[in-house]
Structures are given as structure tokens and as C-alpha cells.
């Protein structure tokens, strides 16, 4: 939404014998500040109407922001995070499971046993 200011037509919702209720529904813009609900109705032969009600539109409170998983644009990064965590766990399991090679352990034992004897 480029402009936070909107012109919205009001449609009659309830019509009684001598009055009509006009109403509309809309989403507040992604822009905080001081705004006004304003009706400026000027038509030939009818008296003009100019009514204004001022409201404040605030931004999100610190605990009202959407969580990361609720934002679809964040899903690649969330997937990257979990793939790193998952990859590390897989690596740890593989590392603990795998036995060192035979000849290498022979050589190490020899080295560790014979070294103080020298």
C-alpha cells in the first residue's frame, strides 16, 4: 500500500423510515500516526456534511509481532537453521558410531606403549 490514505464508499446498511445508517469495513493501513475518519459530502441542493473524527494508529507492541514461522518469507532461513542443526546431529551420531581403522589403532598403541621406553 503506497498511500495510507483511503477513500472508501459507505454503503447503506440499515434504512429506517427517516434515517439511514451507512457503514463500511476496512483494514487500518501499515502506517502509524494520527488519522481522521472524515465525511465530506457536498451535493447540489442538499446541505453539506463535513464530519471528522480523529484517531491514533499505533504500530505493533513488542509482543505483537508475528513469530518467525508464521512469516512465509522466513521459511528458507528457518529451513537452513534446522538443516544445520539436523546435519550436526547426524554427524555426531555417525562420528560416535564409527570405529577407528584397525592399522591406525595398532600404530597408536605401539607409539603410546613404546614411547616412554625410549
Amino acid at each position: 500500500m503506497l498511500s495510507p490514505f483511503q477513500r472508501i464508499p459507505l454503503s447503506p446498511s440499515t434504512i429506517s423510515t427517516n434515517s439511514t445508517i451507512y457503514s463500511t469495513t476496512f483494514t487500518t493501513p501499515d502506517q502509524h500516526g494520527i488519522f481522521a475518519f472524515k465525511v465530506n459530502y457536498k451535493r447540489p441542493w442538499l446541505t453539506s456534511i463535513e464530519e471528522k473524527r480523529q484517531v491514533t494508529v499505533r504500530h505493533f507492541a513488542h509482543d505483537e509481532w508475528p513469530r518467525s514461522w508464521a512469516i512465509s518469507g522466513a521459511w528458507p532461513w528457518v529451513a537452513g537453521l534446522w538443516s544445520v542443526i539436523g546435519g550436526f546431529l547426524v554427524f555426531v551420531v555417525l562420528w560416535l558410531y564409527s570405529e577407528p581403522p584397525k592399522h591406525d589403532s595398532e600404530r597408536r598403541r605401539k607409539l603410546s606403549v613404546s614411547a616412554p621406553a625410549k
Binding site: 459507505l10 451507512y22 469495513t25 481522521a36 465525511v39 446541505t47 505483537e64
Partner: protein, 245 residues
């Protein structure tokens, strides 16, 4: 409401006041609107200064016509006005027919060469509604409100005698100018949030749900309700007002 008559003439103070409203009167005081095709053959067979007109059509298709109806109007000794086109506040209620023109019967025929205005440039009845909805009507023919013309028998070029509808038209005109019709009022304006607030006690100073002073960006859906009181004539008010948020 101001009535003019070509019989008595208009004081220059009044015509300069009207000029401030962008309503121009003819420069010579005894100017009268004549029409050689729409005149009353009974009372003005020679002078042709009693105009016979039907009641006006709506000026635009989307506006309510307060002055419409059947029947013929008789406008004797009319002072024509011309309206400036810069002011959006003035509008003609009743325009002169195509064949009408303004002329001064006291002068000779050469005045016809530079006429004040002709045809539908001439407004016989003009209205002004200011920005604060104050209403003002200039009636070119004060004589049309006389008892004599309220239900006079007039005869047009077709030779049929008809009763004038001046009484009904005067009623319509005064109803409009004295704000008995065409008055819009706002009784109540309310707005509230539709989606429930996610936080309990989000706004501690607010009493109730209606008309809060503060809203949050996005996500919130706000319903705005305007309660209008139109007159019974205006129940067919179709063009919705707009809100500027």
C-alpha cells in the same frame, strides 16, 4: 429569498450585493424578459412579458429534483439574471427558454441590438447555497407570487387554457429555501474494531469497545458507521459518502 420585479426596478445596492454572489442583473433597471413563443396570450398578448414555462428538469441526472412536476408556470415581468460560472455555489433553479431575451420596454428598438443575455443564459430563478449550507434564492418575478397568478388561467400559443401551478411551485421553492427539504444531518458516528484484541487489557484507558481513540496498524479491521438523517424526500440517496482515513 429575494424577489425582483421589472415594474419597480432593483436598487443598485441590491444588484451590487448580488454581484458579490456572482449573480449579475441587467444594467438598466426596467429590463424585462420577453419571449415571443412562450407567452401568455390572455394577459400579455402584445407585450409578451408573461412567460409560460414548465417546471424545471433535474440539472443533473444524479441529483434530487426538488422543483420538478407537471403543469405550467406563469412568470410575469421577470428580471433575468446571469450566473457566473466560477462559483460552484450558485445554480439556476429555472432557466429561460431558448427563445427568450432581456430587453427594456422604456427604450427604443435599438437596445435590442446589444441585449443583456438571451435564451438559457438567462436564469429566471437562481439559488445559492453557501459552504455553511445557508440558502438564498433570487426570484426574478415577484409578481408570480401574487394571488392573481396562483391559479390564473393562461393560454399558450397552442390556444388551450390552462391553470398555472404557481402555488405549488412557490411552495416547493420556499420549502427548499427555508430548509424544510434537502437537509442532511449526521446523528451519530461510531467506529470499532471487529477482530478481537489479542492482548487482554490492551488499552487501559478505554471504556467499552466503541469509538476507541487508538487502533493498531494492519491486521485490525475497523467498521465505521455513519448514521444519517435525511428528509423523507431523500430516502433514495444513492451516492454514498466517502471516508478519508
Amino acid at each position: 429569498m429575494l424577489g425582483l420585479s421589472s415594474e419597480s426596478g432593483t436598487p443598485s445596492a441590491i444588484s451590487s450585493l448580488l454581484l458579490e454572489f456572482d449573480i449579475a442583473l441587467p444594467t438598466d433597471k426596467h429590463s424585462v424578459v420577453v419571449d415571443h413563443f412562450n407567452y401568455d396570450a390572455v394577459s400579455a398578448a402584445e407585450k409578451h412579458d408573461v412567460l409560460l414555462l414548465s417546471r424545471p428538469n433535474p440539472s443533473r441526472p444524479d441529483v434530487v429534483n426538488f422543483f420538478g412536476g407537471e403543469g405550467l408556470l406563469a412568470l410575469p415581468q421577470t428580471v433575468g439574471q446571469t450566473l457566473g460560472n466560477t462559483s460552484p455555489l450558485v445554480a439556476p433553479v429555472l432557466k429561460a427558454p431558448m427563445t427568450a431575451y432581456a430587453y427594456n420596454p422604456k427604450e427604443d428598438a435599438e437596445s435590442v441590438e446589444d441585449v443583456f443575455a438571451t435564451g438559457s443564459q438567462l436564469s429566471l430563478i437562481s439559488a445559492l447555497q453557501a459552504r455553511n449550507s445557508a440558502r438564498f434564492v433570487v426570484l426574478g418575478s415577484l409578481e408570480s407570487l401574487q394571488d392573481k397568478w396562483f391559479d390564473a388561467l393562461v393560454k399558450g400559443l397552442d390556444g388551450k387554457s390552462v391553470k398555472t401551478v404557481n402555488r405549488e411551485f412557490a411552495k416547493q421553492l420556499t420549502e427548499w429555501v427555508f430548509k424544510e427539504v434537502g437537509v442532511l444531518k449526521v446523528l451519530e458516528i461510531s467506529h470499532h474494531q471487529i477482530s478481537p484484541s489479542t492482548k487482554a487489557g490492551g488499552n487501559a484507558t478505554q471504556i467499552g469497545d466503541s469509538n476507541p481513540e487508538i487502533y493498531r496498524i494492519k491486521n485490525d479491521v475497523v467498521r465505521c458507521t455513519f448514521h444519517f438523517l435525511p428528509n423523507s424526500h431523500l430516502n433514495e440517496l444513492t451516492i454514498p459518502p466517502e471516508i478519508h482515513h
